[in-house]
């Protein structure tokens, strides 16, 4: 380099910019997410749960309503991995079959709740003024009730049954999503690119769906996962109380309730459905935590 003249240096082509220094948001997300071992394990468990939810009934060694009065309240054995209940039904098979029910109920109810809450939150945050006040005060009213009490109240009106559990859970998920989406909406609304879109002459509907909604999506996804765990727990609680799934169905909460009378001499009847609920809720919460840490731009490495 030393003998090069200035003119030569200038005539040298500039070094090419190194490509790939800036990763796409997706790569960035994965880089952050895979660092969290707990969340990764939880995510893996969640994936298995969903697979079981789909294929569970086909791989279960026994049917959900296969009575066997020769083997009642038996503890775990090679034939019955989690033992049998008071009617001789295989608990392990019932848990496998019940996975679909629990996941379906929680997914559907949280989905309905998030759709409602997102729409309300977007409207509330974007338009502000009286409509914001109206929606947020309505949410405050719903917030004033403890979740499970509100769900019981709704079921008292609609009557017991799994369908009504879905409605009850989705109703009390609405204000939670509404509030979270509203706060992200306020944030995104204040950005220059939203102002730029406004200056172009775009209609509010376009600004909300094309610009603001994608900006709130990450917080919606995080909360969706977190709420799934709570929804499973609430659905199980309601079924335990006899307000949700009715006894013959292999719903985890209903199974817990069915084993209650034999708690002293056959604890496995309640233990295994309880364990299933516990692990599932824990996995969804840990997974949600991991997603939050990976998606939150404020948390840097």
């Amino acid at each position: 380099m030393a003998e090069m003249k200035v003119g030569e240096v200038i005539r040298q082509p500039l070094p090419q910019a190194v490509n790939g220094t800036k990763s796409t948001p997706k790569q960035e997300f994965w880089r952050k997410f895979k660092k969290q071992k707990m969340a990764l394990a939880a995510g893996f468990f969640v994936v298995i749960l969903f697979i079981l939810g789909i294929i569970g009934p086909f791989i279960a060694p026994f049917g959900a309503a296969e009575f066997d009065y020769d083997h009642i309240l038996e503890g775990p054995s090679a034939a019955h991995w989690a033992g049998t209940d008071a009617y001789g039904r295989d608990i392990f098979s019932r848990i496998l079959i019940g996975t679909r029910l629990s996941l379906f109920v929680s997914l559907l109810s949280v989905f309905l709740g998030s759709v409602g809450g997102t729409i309300l939150g977007l409207i509330s945050g974007y338009y502000g003024k009286w409509i914001d006040n109206l929606i947020m005060r309505f949410c405050d009213i719903l917030f004033a009730f403890p979740g499970i009490l509100l769900a019981i109240g709704i079921i008292a009106i609609l009557g017991p049954g799994l369908g009504n559990v879905v409605i009850a859970i989705s109703i009390f998920s609405v204000p939670i999503f509404a509030r979270i989406v509203r706060s992200s909406t306020l944030q995104v609304k204040a950005t220059v690119y939203v102002e730029a879109t406004r200056s172009i002459g775009a209609k509010p509907r376009r600004i909300i769906w094309k610009h603001i909604f994608p900006g709130t999506l990450s917080s919606i996804i995080v909360n969706f996962t977190m709420r799934l765990g709570t929804a499973i727990l609430t659905a199980a609680s309601l079924s335990f109380l006899g307000l949700g799934a009715q006894p013959p169905s292999p719903e985890w909460g209903a199974m817990l309730s069915g084993g209650r009378d034999y708690l002293n001499n056959a604890p496995h009847v309640t233990f295994f459905p309880g364990l299933a609920i516990f692990l599932t809720v824990l996995a969804f919460n840990l997974f949600g935590d991991g997603l939050r840490d990976a998606l939150d731009p404020k948390i840097k490495d």
């Binding site: 879109t197 172009i200 002459g201 209609k203």
Partner: protein, 320 residues
């Protein structure tokens, strides 16, 4: 004489601010206080001033992103300041804006082609011609057609600002409000963008309202320059007039602060003392009297009006 493209009359913007727990006493931040100017078709009006003097607020009101508290904005003779959001939407294609921060003004989740196509979609440009138009626009602003499929974060500041300019040009506007379009860029890139804006002006017969705090940038691009201080225009003149013989003491002080690339040149510098007063409680009379080296008794009491001293040279100062 041809009617001006834009006519701003006595424009005011007061931001209300509540004081006290119960908001009992209301006072106002006078961001823009009685500003009037006109912009002719095809010319560039530069607005300069310190930060907080209301130049961006003026630009945003012109874009109808903010509603004026008082006053009128006439665009091609039609009043646009009293139209509501729905009525203004269709006229918006006539005036577009280039923003200060090229990193914040582009949606990071959208492809460049979608960003530039957005005004086309909003204003009903035929769907089949959109792609062609986007590619054409990219080439007009000095980018390549293959950039269309990339995301904003893959570009440098100068390139992003070019994307912002392409977006503003998409619907063939007559007026472009450029709010400090180069102040976030490196000096070497600044001149590229300024020259691009000049070339585009010639090619598409554009009219600019160019907002900046850098006097040399404004000198380069403007035909006329308005100097703002605390929400008011203190001097408004043709570029050559203003730079050769500034009249208002504030303009003189500003111009004397522009660095000259000659270390041996001796020149008189006017150094202003004190800080810029708060626009929520501006000084009485001439708002500049607290810092003006030539302040007289009259300046504290009487608000000076914008007067035409010589040909198209307006000053609001009691000295003249």
């Amino acid at each position: 004489m041809e009617a001006p493209l834009v006519e701003v009359k006595n424009l005011k913007k007061y931001f209300p601010k509540n004081k006290g727990l119960f908001g009992g006493k209301k006072f106002f931040v006078k961001a823009v206080d009685d500003v009037s100017f006109t912009i002719k078709k095809g010319e560039t009006l530069g607005l300069v001033g310190e930060s907080g003097c209301g130049k961006s607020t003026t630009g945003r009101m012109l874009m109808r992103l903010l509603d004026p508290t008082e006053g009128q904005i006439l665009f091609e003779g039609n009043e646009i300041s009293s139209l509501n959001d729905n009525q203004i939407r269709d006229i918006r294609k006539e005036f577009q804006m280039v923003f200060q921060d090229p990193y914040a003004s582009l949606n990071p989740r959208m492809k460049v082609s979608d960003i530039i196509a957005e005004p086309l979609i909003v204003h009903g440009y035929p769907k089949e011609k959109r792609e062609e138009r986007v590619q054409h626009l990219l080439e007009v602003v000095g980018l390549n057609a293959y950039h269309a499929d990339r995301f904003p974060h893959e570009f440098s500041g100068g390139q992003r600002q070019r994307i912002g300019i392409a977006r503003a040009l998409a619907v063939n506007p007559k007026l472009i409000v450029a709010d400090e379009p180069v102040s976030a860029l490196d000096v070497s890139i600044q001149s590229q963008i300024l020259n691009l804006l000049k070339d585009l002006q010639e090619e598409f017969n554009l009219t600019y309202l160019f907002i900046a705090h850098d006097l040399s940038v404004v000198e380069h691009i403007s035909d006329r320059v308005g100097v703002m201080y605390l929400g008011k225009i203190v001097e408004l003149a043709d570029k050559d007039n203003l730079y050769k013989e500034p009249l208002h003491p504030y303009t003189k002080a500003l111009l004397s602060a522009v660095p000259v690339p000659n270390p041996r040149l001796k020149r008189e510098r006017i150094i202003l003392t004190g800080d810029i007063p708060s626009p929520s409680n501006p000084p009485s009379g001439c708002t500049f009297h607290t810092r003006c080296p030539f302040a007289m008794e009259e300046c504290k009491k009487v608000v000076p009006q914008l007067k035409e001293i010589s040909d198209r040279h307006f000053v609001s100062c009691h000295l003249y």
